[in-house]
Symmetry: C2
Subunit: 377 residues, 2 copies
């Protein structure tokens, strides 16, 4: 039984694949989130995807090797009990207040489905994690972008009007600007009718977490990741903390989708990543110190740099266009992130690497600026 060659030829002629007509309306109009470049062609200093420059804790790597045994033939614990207990102990919560998933992106998607669908428009900053509008499109959620200050500041007041939910990265991305815990608390307190979802992907680099408040606010859900401060972007592991009913809401979405989202290796590695506090403290301290130093140097070179509390800097120059800097840096082997988007099209986001990597970045940047008539300070 052959296919229909006539139809196929037509499809090829129009440059459209025949099978694309099977796409549901849901996916036809999708503009997917575009992750940062992962180049394979050249050895770059990679400061474009906010990865941690330090390897995971040696205890994590040992745990993975130990978990690589015959038990991989068995499904993982669908409840992820042991890891959830370890996380709960770390934060002073109960296991029932903790959820884990295949990266914090998956947890954010679950939260959007569990708490934001079929409601009034949700609020999130006009400049924020670019996955938020993608989730909204996917789950059919309306949203209203909340304007930021000219300096990208987040005004608490603007999140305190009728809404179907609030989603807020703190620190915000890609600006790095961080609200105080008391400000996030105010947003939670003034939105008793909707879930306030705080994405704390970058909180360990200088911000104040609100995880300790989840007991007090039934509408507060906090998501964190193992990808940044715990150097495990390659492993896909995230955690969510909130009241039991919110966690149960996430579980219902997960169980409608994939019974086992976290594998045995990630469960074992995650526990050691949480338990090795010393390594965690040491590496995040180094990143914060490097960030402070590089920020000062950039300011002295004439750049405007937000007061980032994340593992990246968000910078622009009053005279030199960001896309030019992006290309020139790339040609010198330094990859940073450029967003071709309104209001931030003149900014670069630069991940904090090791001191050596940041010195290379600064050297390359100085060379670019020196060749550039507008670059002199």
């Amino acid at each position: 039984m052959p296919g229909n060659p006539e139809k196929e030829k037509r499809a090829l002629n129009t440059g459209e694949r025949e099978e694309n007509r099977y796409w549901s309306g849901m996916i036809k109009g999708i503009k997917p989130y575009i992750p940062g470049e992962q180049p394979k062609d050249q050895k770059y200093i990679k400061l474009n995807t906010n990865e941690n420059p330090y390897p995971p804790s040696p205890r994590v790597l040992e745990a993975i090797k130990r978990a690589a045994d015959g038990s991989l033939r068995l499904y993982p614990d669908p409840e992820c009990s042991s890891l959830r207990e370890t996380i709960a102990r770390h934060f002073g919560l109960k296991k029932e207040q903790v959820f884990v998933g295949n990266g914090s992106d998956e947890l954010l998607a679950f939260a959007f489905a569990a708490f934001f669908t079929g409601k009034a428009p949700i609020l999130f900053p006009e400049i924020t994690y670019s996955f938020f509008p993608v989730y909204c499109k996917f789950f059919g959620i309306d949203y209203e972008p909340v304007p930021l200050g000219k300096d990208f500041s987040v005004a608490v007041e603007k999140f305190c009007r009728p809404n179907g939910g609030v989603a807020l990265p703190n620190p915000n991305a890609p600006t790095g600007i961080c609200l105080k815990a008391s400000q996030v608390e105010e947003i939670a307190a003034r939105n008793p009718e909707s879930v306030v979802l705080i994405d704390e992907a970058y909180i360990d680099f200088g911000g104040e977490s609100v995880v300790s408040l989840v007991d007090s606010y039934p509408n507060l859900l906090v998501v964190q990741t193992f990808s940044k401060s715990r150097s495990l972007a390659g492993l896909r592991l995230g955690m969510a903390m909130g009241r039991e009913g919110l966690i149960e809401g996430l579980r219902r979405v997960k169980d409608s989708f994939n019974s086992y989202t976290v594998d045995r290796i990630a469960l074992a590695a995650g526990e050691e990543a949480i338990k090795d506090r010393e390594y965690f403290e040491e590496t995040r301290r180094k990143i914060i110190e490097t960030r402070c130093r590089v920020r000062n140097e950039l300011i002295s070179m004439g750049f405007e740099v937000t007061d980032s509390m994340a593992n990246f800097l968000f910078m622009s120059h009053p005279a030199v266009p960001a896309d030019f800097l992006y290309r020139e840096l790339k040609s010198k082997g330094v990859l940073v992130r450029y967003f071709d988007r309104p209001k931030i099209e003149n900014h670069l986001r630069v991940t904090i690497g090791t001191d050596e990597e940041m010195d290379c970045f600064l050297r390359a940047l100085r060379e670019v600026m020196a060749c550039c008539p507008q670059g002199g300070s």
Copy 2:
């Protein structure tokens, strides 16, 4: 700013958590898929979740240990190129015709979203993988269960009427009954207007795959898993094969949901699992042989046993109720799967373990039957 203690007290009094009111309509009515028991309290012979009794290939375990290094700080390749190329080579396809995900459940969910939403009711067997109706509920997809024969046989004819899509595990679960490739091909050929999704989770235990037909049928999408015949249930890895446009459809859903679903460890392990053909052939052959032997023994004991092409048997006894057998076997330390569902409430699904495990199962079953007045043959 404390929570509202009045409200909280009320919530506790009614036995309902205050925060449950934040649940979206989408999750309120959800009846999640219930995976098989994963008991921790006792050492069971575990024949209830269709895991492979043999460990993964030693080459897989070595690959995991090698991948446990500092590069885990970096995101995985979002395109999963190397693994997809390896799979494509294995099946004689192009990389663009292969997709990988965090277990085949995730791929099935993506396929339901990509090809079945907003369409006419889809068709799947009335007795089948119990996740199918869960996906439908989650994504708002209508479905019509297709009746099976009294012997659980699947009639091709019944899948050839107007529909918004067809989903069919082959072999079917939990019956193990398998259509021939030519029959699946007929279903694909007679449904040119809709996607025919074939879940080949168990195909390697004696069935004929239709992967080789995906080039010929633009509507044919085949999903397989590493959990069963490649002994990697603990790692969460699945693959989907189809025309490029169908694969692009899955990618659009994935990129609306989670940019990186497959971690670095799973990517490395998956490649070796595909490459070690010898180990794969040897372990699946052993399972098929054990299944044949145990099936014959069960028939000689008076059981009715379907002609399963999977790594499990589906059995009932004309005189002894299945729930009784389930409980008695459990009390003797042998865990099998019992489904309290219409039309199969008198059946047990028994995973094929090692020969030693199956001998224990048969011994326990003989003991139960001997104590049971209806059990004599």
